[in-house]
Structure formats: C-alpha cells, structure tokens
C-alpha cells in the first residue's frame, strides 16, 4: 500500500514528540529511568550481583553495611543471618518480584477489565450475574483460596501468578464497570452509536480511553499489593522457594532480626518502595498525557514558566 510509508513516518514522529514531552517532565523521566534500572537489574542479575545470592558464609553473618562500624566494602549492604550478601539478594530479588508483580497485574487486569467491560456495556442480566460473581469472590477469604490452590498445584512462580490473579481481578472488574457505565451514558457514546459505529469501535474509540487514568492508577496500587501478598505467601513457605529469592521474602525473613540487623528488611523494602514510586511518577504523567485538556494545561504552564524564567534572567542582567 502507498499509505503505509507515510503512516509509519507519522507514527515515528508522534513517538519522538511523545519522548520529547516525557523528557521535559523531570519526575516522570526519573520514574521511567528507575523502572528501566529495575528491569535491567532483573534481566542481568547474574552479571551485576557480586555474589551468588544463595551462597552462605557462616563466618560473615550479620555484617552491617560498608559505611557502618564493622562493615567493609566486600559486602556493601551487609550480610544476613546466613552470611548471604544483601546487595546480591536485592539484585536477584528484582527478578521474582517484577515477574510476579507485572504478571499478576497483567493477568488480573486483563481478566478483570474484560469482565467489567462486558458487565458495564451489555448491562441488564449479564451485569447482574457477573457482579454477583465478583461479590462472591470478594467475600471468599483470599488466603484460604491461595492455600488451597497452592497445596494442590505445588508452589511455583506460575502458581503464584495464577493464584494472586485469581484473588485480585475483582477490583479491576468493579472499577472498569463503573467507568464504562458512566461513559456509556455520555452524549458522545450515544452520538457514536447513532452515527452507526459498531460496538467494537464504540468500546475501543469512545469507552476504553476513559479507563486509562483510573486503571493505570489502580494497576500500580495493585502492583504494591501483589508484591506484599507475594511476600506473605513466601513467608508461609508457599511462595518463592529458597534458594530463589524475592524482595518480599527477604523483608519477611528479615523481620526476626530487625532490632539487631535493620539492613535486612530495609534494603529490600527500599527497593519495593522505589519501584512503586517510580511506577507512580510515570503513571501520573501518563494520566495527564492521556487527557487532551490536561495535557494542554500542562503545556501552557510549562510555556508560562519558561517565559517567566527568561524575563527574570533578562532583568537579572540589567540590574548589575
């Protein structure tokens, strides 16, 4: 097709413009870089980590971080109660944590959004039945379901992802249904239907864009939830199995030593917090970018700030 080439060029230009817009927002850029760092750490963990995360050194138990008395640079973030290097464990822990966190949010999100879309768009009896299923699932104690499934299937990363998705999709369904219901009653959806749009087009063009901001916020909150839930399951011995490790598992197992060796819970905990913070910064940028009105306001503010700075510097030159 002759249309394809200019189409691709236009898309390329649009992506470049978007990247430039992201680069102007320092916080969002920091968030993106932080997330990239975590992903890189997860992928190249064996190359980056100074030690095998499972290697025990009984002679070097509970070493403090390098900058404290008694610590040294052979273990920059200290060692745990079995003499394992904390830095190496944090780097390796990124693997399980990111895999499970992203996997669960993707799986639960996809399923929950599909259910919510169906319930909200079709309405009527379908809506009633699906939402009662959600109610039942919410009232069912999650930890019981997790124990049940894990003890039947046996612990593995796949099992954890499936189990956590099975206990976390309902909130996606509810939020999606609410947003779909309000969008479906809006004038522009009615206009689109009267214009002759098929249902698929109405959903993709007119309803889904309304979900970007609530769902990106929700997905990030759920990500933190999942990281902590995974820690809880791992703590019970049903999650990530040693010698593999995750941030949640380390936080859980470091709890017993929190008064003698604070670094055991602190560094994996900081890793969780930093990851979530980065994701949040990026999501709030995404929320504004997905809304044309907010986006233009941001653009205008940036322009005004730039003019203000230029004026201030001109006046600064004149005074001396």
């Amino acid at each position: 097709m002759s249309d394809a080439a200019p189409g691709r060029a236009r898309r390329g230009a649009a992506i470049l413009a978007l990247a430039a817009e992201l680069a102007r927002d320092r916080l969002a850029l920091a968030g993106l870089l932080g997330l990239v760092l975590v992903v890189v750490a997860a992928i190249f963990a064996p190359l980056l980590a100074p030690y095998d995360p499972a290697a025990q050194t009984v002679l070097a138990r509970l070493r403090p971080p390098a900058w404290l008395a008694g610590g040294d640079w052979s273990h920059p973030l200290g060692t745990d109660h079995l003499g394992r290097d904390v830095l190496s464990r944090v780097i390796h822990g990124a693997r399980a944590t990111m895999l499970i966190g992203v996997g669960v949010v993707a799986l639960a999100g996809t399923f929950g959004v599909a259910v919510g879309l169906l319930a909200g768009y079709v309405g009527g009896r379908v809506d009633g039945v699906l939402m009662r299923v959600v109610d039942v699932q919410i009232s069912f104690p999650g930890i019981l379901l997790i124990l049940l499934i894990v003890s039947v299937l046996g612990p593995s990363t796949t099992t954890i992802v499936v189990v956590l998705a099975a206990t976390n999709w309902m909130v996606f369904a509810r939020v999606t249904r609410g947003a779909v219901l309000s969008a479906r009653r809006s004038g522009y959806v009615e206009a689109a239907q009267i214009a002759g749009c098929r249902d698929g087009r109405v959903i993709v063009r007119h309803i889904l864009p309304n979900l970007v901001s609530p769902l990106s916020t929700l997905a990030i909150l759920e990500f933190t939830n999942v990281v902590l839930a995974e820690a809880a399951i791992s703590f019970l011995g049903l999650g990530v199995q040693p010698p593999a490790t995750s941030w949640g598992l380390d936080v859980a197992s470091g709890r017993d030593y929190v008064f003698v060796a604070w670094w055991l819970v602190t560094f994996p905990g900081l890793a969780i917090m930093a990851t979530v913070l980065c994701a949040n910064l990026l999501a709030s940028w995404l929320r504004v970018t997905a809304d044309p009105q907010e986006r233009e306001k941001r653009f205008a503010r940036a322009l005004a700030a730039r003019r203000g700075r230029a004026r201030a510097s001109r006046e600064g030159e004149r005074t001396p």
Binding site: G187, Y188, E190, A191, A195, G196, R198
Partner: protein
C-alpha cells in the same frame, strides 16, 4: 449528493403510526410495572419539512425522538421510513438505516468526545459507513463540512474543549450532516446555548435544510424557536399528541385548550400588549403515566372537562386541512 431514493416521492419520508413506548419502573418483582411514556402517537414528516415537537417536561417529546432513532423499543405501533417498516430493524440493517437518520443532541458539552480531535469526531460517520476513501479524503470532506457550518479550517486539528458552546453545537451539526441524511432528529439543539447564540444555530439549521433538503424532527420546549423554524407543529401532552397542524394554524388559531394555555404563557416583548392580554392558567398536575386515567389526558386541568372527557379518550380528528385536534370540545 447521494442517489435519489428509489421509492415514490409522494410518500412521506417518515410516518409514525399508533406508537406506544413503555419504560419499566424499578421494583415490582412479581408484576413488572411500567410507565407509558407514549400512547397512540402518529404523525408524518414530508421530505424537506420540519416538524416541531412541543410539550412540557415528561410529555414524551424526547421519547418520540429516541423511538424514531431506534434508541428505545416501540411497545406498539410502527415507524415507516421511506415507506419501509423500520420498527423492528436490527443489526446491520439498523446500522445502514443510521446513515439516513442522524441526530443533533441537546448538550454540546457531553456530546463530543473530549479525547478526539474535531477531524475524527466529524469524520467518524464517514469512516464507519465506508464513505471516506482515505485519511486525506476524510480531511478534505471534514474541512468542507466545517466551512458549511461556519467554523474555521484550523478547527480540524483541535480538541472540543477549545470551543464555545455554540461552536461545539456547530461541530455536532457538522457530524450530523456528514452523511447527508434524509432526516435529522434535533433534540433540543439550542436549549443549552446562550440566547444570543441560539438564533445563529437555528438559522444555520435552516440554511442547511435549504441546501441539503433534509427533513427535521425538531424537539423543543421553546415556542418562539419552533415558530421560527417549523413548517408544522405537534403539541404533546401526557404522552399523546393533542394537536398537530401547520405552524400558522397552531399559533394563530389553536383549538385545544392545552395549546391555548401553552401559547398564552409565552410573554410578548411589548409591555403594553403583554399587560393587556389574558393569561390562561389551567392549574393542576400532568397525569400519572404509570396508571393513566381513562379518557382525555388533560381532563384534570381542563376547564371544559365533563363526564365524556373523563371516560372516553378523544381521537385525533381533523378539523381543517391538515389541522387535527384530540379534544371532544375543540375551541
């Protein structure tokens, strides 16, 4: 212009016969209760004609528009478009009908998707009905349409929030005429606008009708606007048409007590004449449409109502050429 329709041009474009619409009421598990929004409504619209639909809140004027647009199901009766029964049309056939029956919605703020550019909003009907060969073609057509409704060319790449209410309604009108439909349902198209802008939009609708030859079903509670734009007028009360006829007949010589009361409520922009005229006030409430009383719907407020009015509902009967009234005692 599209190809002329194959059917005879003597037929009315739209004919609605004995239309009834019921909305379900909440509650009532064993016996579903419903609300009779429309009962036995019938009218016709000729090609290029504007029928003004007037009535107070709850009289069913929006429901008629929604039924013609096939947004609500008819409980009884039929809707004929170009002589073809479209009352039960579904799926792809209904979607094709939509190309010929378009809408201008009341609220210009909610009726445009805030995340889409004007280009995409106005081009959407063209795209979904396969009338735009390419993006460039769609862009050219949209620019043309925007020019037709009096918007600048550079509007295409902007978002709806950059426009005022009147401009937004022009965008909505451009979208409605994009497919050159034979019928446009205008559901209170100017009631959400400033008075100064209302006249511009009404005049635009009139100009477009002269150019495109579309028929309008013009729903409004504003008698002055209807008098300006409509060729014929139907007055609704309690889900029924109480009077229908040519505009001048309705406004100069109203025959139904309700129409008279309604017209006497319109202020005249002349204090001397306004003070001198007699204001008819028929106190009372509209009937409960969940359990409508037998007889005339206006009986509770009508000063002339007698036993027959309370028992037998008056049929819509022609009094003069094209002027019909549903009243046992037309004035």
């Amino acid at each position: 212009m599209s190809v002329p329709p194959p059917d005879s041009t003597d037929d009315p474009l739209l004919a609605v016969r004995d239309l009834a619409v019921r909305y379900p009421l909440p509650g009532g598990f064993w016996r579903r209760r419903s609300f009779e929004a429309l009962d036995g409504v019938g009218f016709e619209i000729a090609r290029g004609e504007t029928l003004g639909l007037v009535g107070e809140s709850g009289s069913g004027k929006t429901t008629i528009g929604r039924a013609v647009l096939r947004r609500v199901e008819a409980h009884r009766g039929e809707i004929l478009f170009r002589g073809r029964d479209v009352t039960r049309l579904r799926g792809e056939a209904l979607r094709r009908l939509r190309a010929d029956v378009q809408v201008v919605l009341q609220d210009p703020y909610s009726s445009l998707n805030p995340r889409m550019r004007v280009l995409d909003i106005v081009a959407e009907p063209l795209v979904v009905h396969g009338r735009a060969a390419s993006r460039e073609d769609a862009r050219a057509r949209v620019t043309e349409l925007l020019d037709l409704v009096g918007l600048p060319k550079d509007a295409v790449d902007r978002f709806p929030h950059a426009f005022s209410g009147g401009q937004r309604q022009r965008i909505g009108i451009a979208r409605a005429i994009a497919l050159e439909p034979a019928l446009i349902v205008a559901d209170e198209p100017v009631s959400a606008l400033d008075v100064s802008v209302q006249a511009q939009v009404v005049n635009l609708l009139q100009d477009l009708q002269a150019r495109l030859g579309a028929s309008y079903l013009f729903i409004s509670h504003d008698l002055a606007v209807v008098r300006h734009i409509a060729h014929r007028v139907a007055i609704l009360y309690g889900g029924r048409i109480v009077e229908i006829g040519p505009r001048d007949a309705i406004f100069e010589n109203p025959r139904h007590p309700y129409t008279q009361a309604l017209l006497s409520a319109v202020p005249i922009a002349d204090p001397v004449r306004q003070r001198a005229r007699r204001r008819l006030v028929h106190a009372g409430e509209p009937p409960d449409l969940a359990a409508p009383p037998p007889g005339c719907r206006y009986q509770a407020r009508c000063p002339l109502a007698d036993a027959r009015c309370r028992e037998v509902s008056p049929p819509l009967a022609a009094l003069a050429q094209d002027h019909a009234v549903a009243c046992w005692k037309p004035l």
